[in-house]
Amino acid sequence: MSGWVFLVVGIMLTAAAALALYRIARGPSILDRMIASDMLLTTIICAMGAEMVYNSHVRTLPAMLVLAATAFLGSVVVARYASRSGHK
């Protein structure tokens, strides 16, 4: 497969991750940061998948599986924390 497809994919995923990092840094609330970090994790899963296609192997598939299965725990914990501390 021609390399420019992967160049485009890499640039898009990098830009998406950079935008998510910007939103994590900017805020304004802890929930915005959590949404952004959730999306960063999804971008990482997509990048791992694209890398597997590029190098034509399936070795990182278990890591993707674990990430997809446990990604929600962080959001749940932060959401519980936020709904508790927000009431003052």
């Binding site: 898009m12 915005d32 999804t42």
Partner: protein
């Protein structure tokens, strides 16, 4: 064009689509005004973008073991993404991150009022036993 050539072209299209959805989510995360709108943007690569990437992998590695693993991955993502979205939206509503005017229908407000009427001592911000 050979069979493998066609497969490669379709794989490339799927990869670009998946990456484009991630990029769109990033732009939405940057530009949208409040937490709920940003959540709307970020759910696009969470399911559809991942489906595209997984289809690309499945087209390249056409084996039953790989495809079963990909199906499990997608199933986990589909099961867990709504849980985190629900919890974030709930916490956002109670923290006042959601703008009042942006909601057309607000069923949670009535539910919270009902819960407060039933148990006046209970702290409404505490999710309690139902706050999964």
């Amino acid at each position: 064009m050979t069979f493998q050539g066609i497969i490669d072209v379709v794989t490339g299209i799927f990869l670009v689509l998946g990456a484009f959805l991630s990029l769109a989510a990033g732009v939405g995360l940057l530009r949208f005004p409040d937490a709920i709108a940003r959540m709307h943007a970020t759910t696009k690569p969470q399911i559809l973008g991942l489906i595209f990437i997984l289809l690309a992998i499945a087209l390249q590695e056409r084996r039953l073991s790989t495809i079963l693993m990909l199906a499990t991955l997608l199933l986990f993502q589909m099961m867990t993404a709504p849980i985190s979205a629900h919890m974030i939206g709930r916490a956002g509503y109670r923290n006042g991150v959601v703008a009042e005017g942006s909601l057309l229908v607000d069923e949670l407000e009535r539910a919270i009022e009902r819960a407060q009427d039933e148990e006046p001592d209970d702290d409404p911000a505490e999710p309690g036993d139902d706050g999964r």
